[in-house]
Symmetry: C2
């Protein structure tokens, strides 16, 4: 994955901050929060500001290379994997898992004449690790 040309081809001028933040998000698929991203990158980019992380993520979202979601009303989480997938949160250990959706074409009644642009699914329960411990 060439991050610079990925940004460029999505109309984002590749500054150091933008490259590092996108690279971080792409490699850390555990859906980090702004705070986690900031704390992990400020060692690399000592002048980094949290506002820049916010601005940059908003730019990524507006240009379609990042998505964001919220679980249980907590801080926003970010995701550079744009393929449709669901999220599972373990109520015991708190871990987030990515989940492929098999029944990709869900059917919703009364929505025949609605235009669905975005499907967002998250599940909660107990993960296999916590079940067997």
């Amino acid at each position: 994955m060439d991050f610079i040309s990925h940004l460029s081809s999505n109309n984002i001028k590749p500054s150091v901050q933008r490259i590092k933040i996108f690279e971080y998000l792409y490699k850390n698929t555990n859906h980090p929060t702004v705070d986690i991203i900031y704390k992990d990158l400020v060692g690399d980019i000592p002048t980094l500001s949290k506002t820049t992380v916010y601005n940059t993520l908003k730019l990524f979202i507006d240009n379609g290379i990042t998505s964001t979601f919220t679980i249980d009303g907590n801080e926003a989480r970010y995701d550079a994997i744009m393929e449709e997938h669901a999220h599972f949160k373990c109520n015991d250990c708190g871990q987030l898992y990515d989940v492929e959706i098999e029944a990709l074409k869900l059917k919703f009644s009364k929505l025949n004449d609605f235009q669905i642009d975005n499907t967002n699914i998250y599940l909660k329960g107990i993960c296999n690790k916590c079940l067997t411990k």
Copy 2:
């Protein structure tokens, strides 16, 4: 629907505030926020405090007679309809719609050994009213 006995049978002592708040939530299926609930009820209960609305909704959730969800990281929304359903938000007019899930048993890969307690689905797009105007 007898709200008092519904509360009682779910181990919630039916105070005036609790009855009114639950009744409001049950009758207003548009998933109001704390602020909306508070502003609509403070005329009825002049001493009502917003903290009480928060406390009461938390109590309802802990006792399983209300659910809460968040869309786009905004304020929490509340729902007294506990049957499983999805939510649709129109990106144009902002209206929230309840949606029945036809394919109720979704299949998720890699989750055979996970225990799913809760399924949360919301869709975004354009509603039929906005499409035809």
